[in-house]
Structure formats: C-alpha cells, structure tokens
C-alpha cells in the first residue's frame, strides 16, 4: 500500500540547485585565510543552533530537507552533535541567556569549522538589538564566516549561501 502511495501521489519534485550567491562567495574568500584547510570533498555536516531566534529561520531551514529542496543530494546534511559538524548554522539574535550555550557549542565543534549566521537578527541582533536581554549578532560571540540575510531567508537563499560555502571549502 505504501509502495502504491509513493508511486501514485507525485512524480519527482526536486528542483535544480540554484547558482551560488555571488556576495557570499566574496565574503567567504576573505575568511578562508583564517582557517586551516583540509580537503573535505564536497560533503559538509551542519549543526544548527538557535541562539535566540523567533523560530522563523528554523522553519525555512527545515524546508531545506523537504522533497523540493532535498538538501542531502547536494552533499549537505544536518547532524545531531557539534562534535560531528563542519559547519554551525546559527539563527537568531544571541540572547544573553544563550551566549554560553552558543560558545560551548562552538568550542565543541572540531576544526576545521565554519560558522554561518542566518537571518537579519543573526547579523547584528536585528529588531531586538537594543534589548537588555540580547548580546547582539552571532559575530559578537563567535567568529562568523558567512551571513545569509533575510527575515527569514527562504530555502533558495539558504541553499545559495550553503553552496557558496561548499565551493570555497573543498
């Protein structure tokens, strides 16, 4: 019954991957000198960390795994532990309450590692920047290699940013 469900509901839905984001490539080129480069091939493990977001960015990051965007076919996958990760994908303004957790997660990620700050709030705290409860953007707490702007960035924008990272990492 499951077999017939798979067959009959849809044909393939996967869309072609977008071109790498030009601005992201430029930013990455500058940060690459800071990191020891190891040949990783074209496969990256990503650990997502919510450092204080409203959850909007998480929803679009989740969408990356759906049948349309299908992140894993591009050699990118999410992992449960920072110890298994090459990339930290951080969302949200960093709240004071999450600062230590973000730092510990960063420290637990082995080198070489890259940090992507996702969304308007992750860049500089966004609309929450003046709050007593907010530290600032992700870069105020850990070094950031790439910013993906948006509120929230849609899956295509996320993918373009991730692919730019891939191109420069391998």
């Amino acid at each position: 019954m499951r077999h017939s469900l798979l067959d009959s509901l849809h044909g393939p839905l996967t869309e072609p991957a977008p071109a790498p984001d030009a601005a992201g490539l430029a930013e990455l080129a500058q940060s690459v000198n800071r990191i020891a480069r190891v040949k990783l091939g074209r496969s990256l493990s990503i650990r997502q960390v919510d450092a204080g977001s409203c959850n909007g960015c998480e929803l679009e990051i989740h969408a990356l795994s759906n049948a349309f965007y299908d992140l894993e076919r591009l050699g990118l996958r999410f992992v449960a532990s920072p110890r298994h990760a090459d990339v930290l994908m951080v969302t949200g303004p960093v709240t004071k309450n999450m600062r230590e957790a973000l730092q510990r997660t960063y420290n637990a990620t082995p080198e070489p590692k890259w940090v992507i700050a996702v969304g308007a709030c992750a860049a500089d705290g966004g609309i929450f920047s003046r709050s007593y409860a907010v530290e600032g953007g992700v870069k105020d707490v850990v070094p950031v290699d790439l910013h993906i702007p948006g509120c929230p960035p849609n899956p295509r924008q996320l993918l373009a940013g991730l692919l730019a990272l891939l191109q420069n990492a391998s």
């Binding site: 909007g56 998480e58 049948a67 609309i127 929450f128 409860a133």
Partner: protein, 500 residues
C-alpha cells in the same frame, strides 16, 4: 452573569476595550482567586505593569472575559499560585521582570532570569544584577533513579530549552522544564515604540505564528482606538490566519509521525506544507506572511494570481491529504506509538485553561475564533476529543485542516471588495485594548496601553504555551523516554513565544 459581578471592584476603566477592566483591592483579588480555584473561571493571563499587576479571566462557559487590576503596595501582591497552580510560572516571570513579589508564592525560583542579564528587574525598579545562584531543580527521592539533562541546545533544528528528566530505567518519573533561553525582552522594546514598530515586534514573538501575533496586536490597537477595520481586510486576515494554521498543522502531523520514525508522513506532509507556503508567497509576497497584518487592516492585497493559486492549493490538498490520513490511521505500528501515549486528562486542561489542540484533544472546546471577525460571518466546526493522547492531538489537527480548507473556500467565495486598510484613529488620550486570537497552537493574548500620542506605553503578549508547557510535564509521566519527542512534538509549544 458577568464575571465582575462576583468580584468586588471600584468602577471600570472607561478607556479599556472591548472587555471591562476594573481595579480591585484585597477582597476583590481574593474573590477572583476563589473563583479560579473553584473552576468557575479560567486564568487567561497574569502580567505586571508596575506598580500594578493585571489578571485576565474567562468564565468557565467562555461567556465572559474581564481584567482586574491590583495595585501593589510595597511592591507585592497576594499570590494567585498559592491557590491556583496555573499562575505559578506567570508569577515567577513577573518577579523577574518587574520585581513585584507574589506573597506566599509556592515557588520562589527565577523563571526567565537565568542569571545572565546585567540588570535586575528590567521592567521595574532596575537594579544591578547580583551573582547568579545555581538553579535548584525539584528534589527527587527513590531507589534506582537517574537524571537525563537535555538542552538548551537540542539535537535537531529546534528552539532551545532545558528538560531535566528523572528516570527509573526507561520510564520517566518526572520531567522538569527550564525555559527562558530565548527571552529577548520584547515587552521592554515595546515601551515607547511606534505602532509600526510594535507590529513588527509582535510578529516576531513566535515566527511560526507571525500572522496570529500581528493579528492579535492589531486587534488590541483597534479595540483601544476604536478603529473599524474594512471588511475586505478582515476577510484577508482570516485567509492569512487559515493559511498559517494549515502550514503548521501539515508540518506538525508529519513531524510527530517522524518522531515515531515514520518518515514517509514527514516527507509527504512536508510537500503539502511547501505548497501552502508557496501559495502564501503568491498571494501575499512572503512565505510566512510576516508583516502582512498591520493595525487598521492588512499591508498587502491578495495578488491577482492569488485566487487561482489558492484554488490549486485546495485541490491538491483534497487530492493528497485523505490518502495520508488513511495511511496514518491504518499503520498499526504507528498507532501503537501514538494511542494512549502522553495522556493529559480533561480535568487538567480545564483547570489550566489549556487552549488549542492540547485543550481540544482533552475535552476543552474553547476556540477563540468564535470571538472575532471574520469568523462571525463564517461557518466552521471546532473538533473536540477526550482521549488526550498523542493520537487525539493528531486527529484534532487533521480535522482542523479540513475546517481550514472549508474556511478558505468560504472566504474566497464571499471576499468583499473595498479598502484593505483604515487609518488608526488618534484618541488624543490614553487608551487600552485587549485581544484574544486563535493561533494554530492556541489562544494568544495581547494587552496594551497607548499614550495620548498613540505610542505604545505597555504591551503584554501571552503565548498559548504558558498553559501548555506545564501539561507536557504531566503528559510524559510514566511514559518511556523514547516517547518524549513524540509527546513534545504533539504539543509543539513555543519557546520563543513563551519566553518573549
């Protein structure tokens, strides 16, 4: 009989709309607490507004809503939680933010203040933050018990919070949550904000409910200023709200099944969710419809190809969804995980005033949509079950998807022409508004006070999760640890909405 008839009070605040707000002293406050502990009314909210605290109540039969205000002499007020548990965390949050003490409160621990702020009581009399004390989790006694601490960073793509499990082998003896990690100080940012800024902040309290929050905020502003929203705008708001409800229910149904390792449902429901977000993008220019609802109406009209995209969405969902429901219902190994797991009893949701699918899966038939436009012009059922398990919370969502499809059809069939926005009236004096809005996970409360210039003086946002998170602790008891993700996802409470 009106709620305030049973509560001694001195007049009502004329500037407060649409439900009454009255100032009470010790006897009125005590009478309200008595009504709560007897179950004759339910707590809708409890928040600080230094030097006062406000309490919002709804009658047990949902027939009346009122707000009462207690002025705190010496910065304290009689604890509600001492007699009525649902007020517990609200009082702890009030103390953290305002420094107002609930006298005889059963739990004196902090809740949102985790010891990392540089300031104490940020919305009250500010003080320098002291050295943080280690948080004392509740003690547990017994043989062969072990603890599992989870979070704040969780294994998946999910918001942060801490869960302290005490287990006897595989069985959970106690779950204690510790939240507040994503507290952003939204209510302090609201102070002195323009309506435009306030709408943006409200819509980013909980991103998955951005439409519901913006709708609630706008409704509170409109109530306070007595601004009439054009009919077309109310229908478009309803459309946005139902699209948001659909997108979340699809996501949830799939994710809950995935937490029982039934990934096919996640994949298939994810397709329906993506179709819904793309329809939202076509109609209103943003997948999540952020910043689409504003005080006075909506920010964007339905795009020209919007109606066609919605008909296509309805057709696709009607084609696919029944097959997925049949798959869920006929997979014995999945039913084995969801049926009788994570039960919340009807008495518990009634006492706590738990809303949304959590309440409705355990017999509490409250749906705030009955209170506001455009739903007064539309026909819909509110599905209720009483098993209170994960399965029931899935079925409520399934039935609500069906209702949302029907609502969208009615909206499309009756969409009025005309303006999508009316300018917010300026009152030239202080005014207050209260709104209750049915987000996908339950009722969101927004209360605000505007000054004579129409700037926000104080805005309180109460997520549905305040009355649902604690019930998760009850639901997981005596279940196995492996069933926690299933239970948690069946609740899908908001961390950001709660922490605000």
């Amino acid at each position: 009989m009106a709620l305030l008839d049973s509560i001694a009070h001195t007049g009502t605040a004329k500037q407060h709309k649409p439900w009454p707000r009255a100032e009470v002293s010790d006897d009125g406050w005590a009478q309200a607490i008595e009504l709560l502990s007897q179950g004759r009314c339910t707590l809708l909210g409890l928040w600080g507004d230094a030097p006062a605290v406000h309490m919002a109540l709804i009658a047990a039969d949902f027939g009346d809503i009122a707000v009462i205000t207690y002025i705190c002499k010496d910065g304290s007020y009689p604890s509600v939680a001492a007699r009525h548990a649902p007020a517990g965390k609200l009082e702890r949050a009030i103390r953290d933010l305002y420094g107002l003490d609930a006298v005889d409160a059963p739990d004196g621990r902090t809740w949102l203040d985790l010891g990392f702020w540089s300031v104490k009581h940020p919305l009250g009399k500010r003080g320098k933050a002291g050295k943080p004390k280690p948080y004392q989790f509740l003690p547990v006694e017994g043989e062969g018990l072990h603890q599992i601490p989870v979070g704040p960073v969780h294994a998946g793509i999910i918001e942060p919070g801490h869960f302290r499990f005490t287990c006897n082998g595989e069985h959970v003896v106690r779950l204690e949550q510790r939240l507040g990690y994503v507290h952003k100080g939204i209510e302090q940012l609201m102070q002195g904000a323009s309506l435009e800024q306030g709408a943006k902040l409200a819509g980013r309290t909980s991103g998955d409910s951005t439409v519901a929050y913006a709708f609630a905020f706008a409704s509170a502003v409109e109530a306070a200023t007595q601004t009439v929203v054009p009919p077309r705008a109310t229908y478009l708001r309803g459309l946005m709200a139902e699209l948001e409800r659909l997108a979340n229910h699809f996501g949830d149904i799939g994710a809950i099944c995935n937490d029982a390792s039934f990934a096919i449902m996640l994949a298939q429901c994810g397709i329906l969710r993506e179709h819904t977000l793309r329809a939202a993008q076509t109609c209103f220019g943003h997948r999540l419809m952020m910043d689409s609802v504003v005080p006075g109406g909506v920010a964007r009209d339905l795009a020209e190809d919007g109606i066609a995209s919605l008909h296509a969405l309805l057709a696709e969902v009607r084609r696919v969804f029944p097959r997925l429901v049949e798959l869920y219902d006929s997979t014995a190994s999945l039913q084995d995980r969801t049926v009788t797991t994570g039960i919340v009893k009807p008495d518990t949701v009634r006492q706590w005033g738990a809303g949304g699918y959590v309440g409705r899966a355990s017999g509490r038939g409250f749906d705030a949509r009955r209170l506001y436009a455009p739903y007064d012009k539309l026909t819909f059922d509110v599905p209720v079950r009483d098993e209170g398990d994960v399965n029931a919370r899935i079925w409520i969502r399934i039935r609500e998807v069906e209702q949302s499809l029907a609502l969208i059809e009615q909206i499309l069939g009756n969409l009025p022409a005309g303006n999508i926005h009316a300018p917010v009236k300026t009152k030239a004096k202080s005014c207050e508004g209260l709104a209750l809005l049915e987000a996908f996970r339950g009722d969101v409360l927004v209360w605000l006070r505007l000054d004579a210039q129409g700037t926000i003086e104080r805005c309180h946002l109460r997520d549905a999760s305040w009355f649902q998170w604690p019930l998760l602790e009850t639901a997981i008891k005596d279940n196995i640890v492996a069933d926690f993700p299933l239970c948690n996802k069946s609740f899908n409470c908001s961390y950001s909405g709660h922490d605000a």
